[in-house]
């Protein structure tokens, strides 16, 4: 991110040009396009092929959604290694339980629901493994925040740390909506909540993130 300015407020360190096809500000933008539930004939065909045990169908699912799955898992778990384990485990779970998929949601949504649950399980088990380490905090899995002398941390790391302070539900909704580009109907199906709850959770998550991200600057200004 070339436009990061260490002396500017956090929102000014953001590149004014978003990545192509990924920029998302107004919630109504995406809902207006296509099938909001994601149940397309292609999705159904993919589910049917996976149910039939066709490994090429799983490969197609990976080509279509693998990057997004890896990315979400990495943001939920903190490391590439854990993320890859979670994605692999998700594919195995999909294969094991594909016969129970009834098509109430899209196949992709169902797969992401499994992924999110797998990530939460991994996170919990990792926390249990480390519970004897003194002063262990939930966000300790995130990489240490490198600071330039007298300056701000990089935006990405600051955001990762801020996200780690959110509740599990807020973190999931924020990442699914703002980073992965799912809309509220899909997130609601993934997390087994209502669309309204998804919207409210996102709102609260963003409010909390703003507070967290603004805090260091105000304290720094106060100290100067």
């Amino acid at each position: 991110m070339g436009s990061v300015g260490l002396t500017l407020p956090w929102e000014h360190r953001i590149s004014p040009v978003a990545r192509e096809g990924t920029f998302r500000v107004q919630p109504a933008e995406r809902e207006a396009q296509g099938n909001p539930a994601g149940r397309t004939p292609e999705d159904a065909a993919l589910a049917a092929a996976c149910r039939a045990g066709d490994l090429h169908a799983y490969e197609r699912l990976y080509r279509l959604q693998g990057a997004r799955m890896r990315n979400l898992a990495r943001n939920l778990l903190g490391t590439h290694s854990d993320a890859e384990d979670a994605v692999q485990e998700t594919f195995l779970k999909v294969q094991r339980s594909i016969s129970t998929f009834r098509g109430q949601s899209s196949f992709v949504t169902w797969t992401f629901r499994i992924l999110v649950n797998t990530c939460h399980d991994l996170r919990r088990s990792r926390t249990r493994r480390k519970e004897f380490v003194p002063d262990e905090r939930e966000d300790a899995a995130m990489p240490a925040e490198p600071r330039a002398p007298g300056g701000h941390p990089s935006l990405k790391l600051a955001l990762e740390r801020a996200i780690a302070t959110l509740t599990q539900q807020q973190r999931s909704v924020f990442l699914l909506y703002e980073v992965e580009g799912f809309h509220h109907a899909e997130i609601a199906a993934m997390l087994e909540i209502t669309e309204t709850a998804s919207k409210n959770t996102l709102f609260q998550a963003k409010k909390n993130l703003r507070q967290t991200l603004e805090a260091p600057r105000s304290s720094q200004a106060g100290g100067a």
Partner: protein, 222 residues
């Protein structure tokens, strides 16, 4: 659409496209809302920094291998009921026909087995601790004959037993007294439960023991 400052949070939470456009318009003339709107949008833009498009070429081969292994294992351990799961996708007419055929087959098999069933084994073919009346009479008759034969044997050995001339003979006498006592007791119980074959077998073994003892006594005759 007329938007006010107090509408801002509601729009952030669940605003329509039209309301967002109205808020943009309002922010052009409201510094506080412009700042809030900018910060809100910035979070969405900043979130894109969390997208990591780094390739992981080794991951799919790893997953593919694990999927193939799991498929192989599940094929080996598939329950027989699941192997019939292809019928779930068959038309309901065929499913009904199959179910009907299975019921018919089951009924025919049950009918055949009922008609051609083997008769229950008779009492003579199995060990039955309770003997029937006719069998009891037969056993008692044989027992009487056996007792008479043993009594003849006892009469022959009586002189030696009554006047034992050696410690061995005294032991034989003692044993015979004990056997007679046991025989009397068993006969009393057998009289109360004439159909109890177990008692009859015990009585028979006592008689056999008495017979063997008497034979030994006679064999030690000087």
């Amino acid at each position: 659409m007329q938007i006010k400052c107090e509408d801002r949070e509601r729009i952030f939470r669940d605003g329509s496209a039209e309301q967002w456009a109205g808020l943009e318009l309002h922010a052009a003339s409201c510094l506080a809302c412009a700042k809030e709107l900018q910060a809100w949008k910035s979070l969405s833009v900043a979130a894109q920094e969390l997208r990591d498009d780094q390739e992981s070429p080794a991951l799919w081969p790893r997953i593919e291998s694990a999927l193939a292994q799991q498929a192989q294992q599940s094929a080996l351990h598939k329950p027989w009921l699941e192997r019939l799961s292809f019928w779930r996708s068959a038309p309901s007419v065929w499913q009904t026909a199959l179910a009907g055929a299975l019921v018919l087959l089951l009924a025919l098999t049950a009918g055949y087995l009922y008609v051609h069933r083997h008769p229950a084994p008779g009492p003579t073919e199995t060990y039955n601790p309770l003997l029937r009346d006719s069998k009891v009479a037969e056993v008692e008759r044989a027992e009487r004959d056996y007792m008479q034969a043993i009594d003849k044997l006892a009469a022959e050995a009586k002189p030696q037993i009554d006047t034992p001339d050696s410690p061995l003979m005294a032991n034989y006498r003692e044993k015979l007294v004990m056997l007679d006592g046991a025989i009397d007791e068993l006969r009393m119980h057998a009289g109360q439960n004439p159909s109890n074959a177990h008692l009859r077998y015990q009585l028979l073994s006592m008689y056999q023991e008495k017979q063997a003892t008497l034979q030994e006594v006679l064999e030690t005759k000087p």
